[in-house]
Amino acid sequence: MTAADVQARPAPAVTPRLAPPLSLLRLLWIEVRRSPMPLILPLIAALFWFDSYRPSVGQPPLFILRTFWNMGQGGTIVDFGPLVAGMAAWIGSRDGRRGTTDLVTATAQPRLTSQLASWAAAAIWAVGGYLAFVGALFAVYAYQGVTGEPPWWWVAVGATAVAAFSSAGFAAGVFFPSRFTAPLTAFGGFLVMMLSSQTGFRDLSGWPQILPTNSNGNFQPDSGMLYPYLPDLPVARIMFLAGIGLAALFLLGLPAVAAGRRMRGVAVMMVAAGVAVSAAAVGLASTARLGPHGMVIAALHDAASDRPIRYTPVCGSAAGMPVCLNPAYRADLTTVTAALAPVVRELAGLPGAPHRAKEIGANYDTLDGETGQPMTISGTPPVLSVPLGAENLPGAFGAKDAVFSDQLRLLFLHAFVGAGNNAGTPAQQAVQAVLLQGAGLPIAAQPKLLTSVGLLWIPAEVTGGPTQGPPQATGPVYAAARRLAALPAAARQTWLVSHLAALRSGSLTLAQLP
């Protein structure tokens, strides 16, 4: 048999119109198979466990608290970004290191196309790894009974950040093909993240809100439980990171050898678009203002995001008073009812004492809820509204069970005497001190507790500075409180019944206390 017998080559199964995309897909598939990016994933997995998962398990089982560091402060991005950038730089420098740039430039595909395929493969591995690890993290949390909604928007920010790190690293590798490019890119990536943290910790508003490690004022309870996570700031961050990634990637198309005139024109437009999108995102972030449920960017805000999440409460009893909480706080119900019970007993028979307590959503604040938020009593019959998410739950950031309980008692009584959002009048403070002592907290221990919830501020020149120990229960307020506390219980009860209205209106003076 000779070749003369062989018939003409059969026509290809695909039409020519489909051939270019298929060849690109084949190129991408080859790059995916040969990419060294998976080599770094086991190391990242170990770091992810150590840095992102391990510290979080000490927090209460609420998604917003478990993910405060690894999502809110960008811990997962810090774990992934620098190492992905370093490896992407190594991949990007491949042709330059091996001296095959001219060879690759002369192939059928434009150089930019092959570079994009190489980057895409690296990014698929990196972003896929990120999503897989975060998925595993959330699955473990769910298995452990963590409640609330996962912060999906922040996961999207992290995935975009990983893609941006990979494109920036890849571009660095292409333009500076050296053995030092990968370590310097990884080092630079980590340094940028640390400087981002430094700026983010310091600045509470304005453009620094765009930084992916900045959690100031934008990652607090009760997001994902009583109201949704606001997508405004995550969307701006996604725009910012995607813009950086796009601009870095299409810088590759600017050199003359990268592609033909038309593709280079497209590359110029993509770089410009990337820069413009990032700049627009910074501008949007600088207009962000703190709303009750998170950072609001007017140009991106959707009113539907403000709707509260509907839920069926879980209820318990505090000395006969029903206490109903969001089911996400089910684990804290016993602690809350036990904390409120002594106050309920202390207030029994007094006018205005609440008949039940319900949880309300905590408002976002610039201090990340560090000083708590006041409870309120309203309605007929009176209902105690408890912004539980604003308090430091037992176990959250090292908070102790006993301190949490004392804070709840204090805030309950603070609402009962009508003191509002501030310390209250001297008479209200004195009556609050007496009732709090009746609920189990001695007057001498109260100033420290008041300080912990932001209801007592003592100038440093009075206390001698923060190192001089807690403030003392002295002065006219505590003197009046001790006088009132010294009365027989029945006499004190009678006095309270007759003077509570005046006390709540703020018209009662310290001198009018018995």
Partner: protein
């Protein structure tokens, strides 16, 4: 012409002994050049300047004493990463087969660059107050360089940088948690013996691994890790 008629080595040239120091110096220079050591030295000088800038303009993270260490530690890790990728050469097997001085050259290059890193960062630290001072700097640079050299021996010279960067990530989180283990030596006081011993042990292990084994050659630009299973 063939070698058939040659049955003994030609007489050594009388000047051979005098040429030995020059040949040795040339060998050292060629070795250092093959590892891009001069470029590494320049980069270390640049990192020293970065240290100077960070202390001069107070780039430290907001927070306590531990937070103030993060930026200097990052720069120290960058130095270690540069040293780690200076461990491999382009010649591979021929170099190993013919270079009997190779282990000593590897060790000398690692020590030289570590010393250069320490010197450059010390010079940079004159701009302000470096947490822990020079003693902590020496311990940290030495220990993190050890992680880089070990990573180069295990993962490959091109990926030696992953060691210091990974150790930095571990340290960054551990610093805020007040660790007690001496293996997180940056969190220990400068005169702490345990931290110094651990850092020294890692450095010694790294130098020994590089000296005896050299940086691993991975051939990483050839088929990817999954090409065997994905067809």
């Amino acid at each position: 012409m063939t070698a058939a008629g040659i049955d003994h080595a030609p007489a050594a040239a009388p000047a051979a002994g005098r040429r030995a120091p020059a040949a040795g110096a040339r060998l050292v220079w060629l070795f250092l050049a093959s590892r891009r050591t001069p470029a590494a030295a320049w980069l270390l000088a640049g990192l020293g300047m970065l240290m100077w800038a960070s202390l001069h303009w107070h780039w430290n993270i907001a927070g306590g004493a531990a937070a103030r260490q993060v930026i200097p530690l990052t720069i120290e890790a960058g130095s270690a990463a540069v040293i780690a990728v200076s461990t491999y050469g382009p010649f591979g097997e021929p170099e190993r087969a013919t270079g009997r001085w190779l282990p000593w050259l590897r060790m000398a290059a690692a020590l030289l660059l570590t010393g250069a890193a320490f010197g450059a960062l010390c010079a940079g630290a004159t701009a302000g107050v470096l947490p822990g001072g020079s003693l902590a700097l020496l311990r940290n640079v030495g220990g993190m360089t050890g992680t880089g050299l070990l990573a180069a021996a295990v993962l490959g010279g091109a990926f030696g940088w992953a060691g210091p960067i990974a150790y930095l990530l571990v340290t960054e989180v551990s610093l805020s948690g007040h660790p007690t283990t001496p293996w997180v030596w940056p969190a220990r006081p400068p005169h702490d013996l345990g931290g110094a011993l651990c850092a020294s042990a890692v450095f010694a292990a790294g130098v020994s691994a590089i000296m005896l084994l050299g940086a691993r050659e991975t051939g990483r630009d050839s088929p990817g890790p999954l090409s065997r299973w994905i067809s």
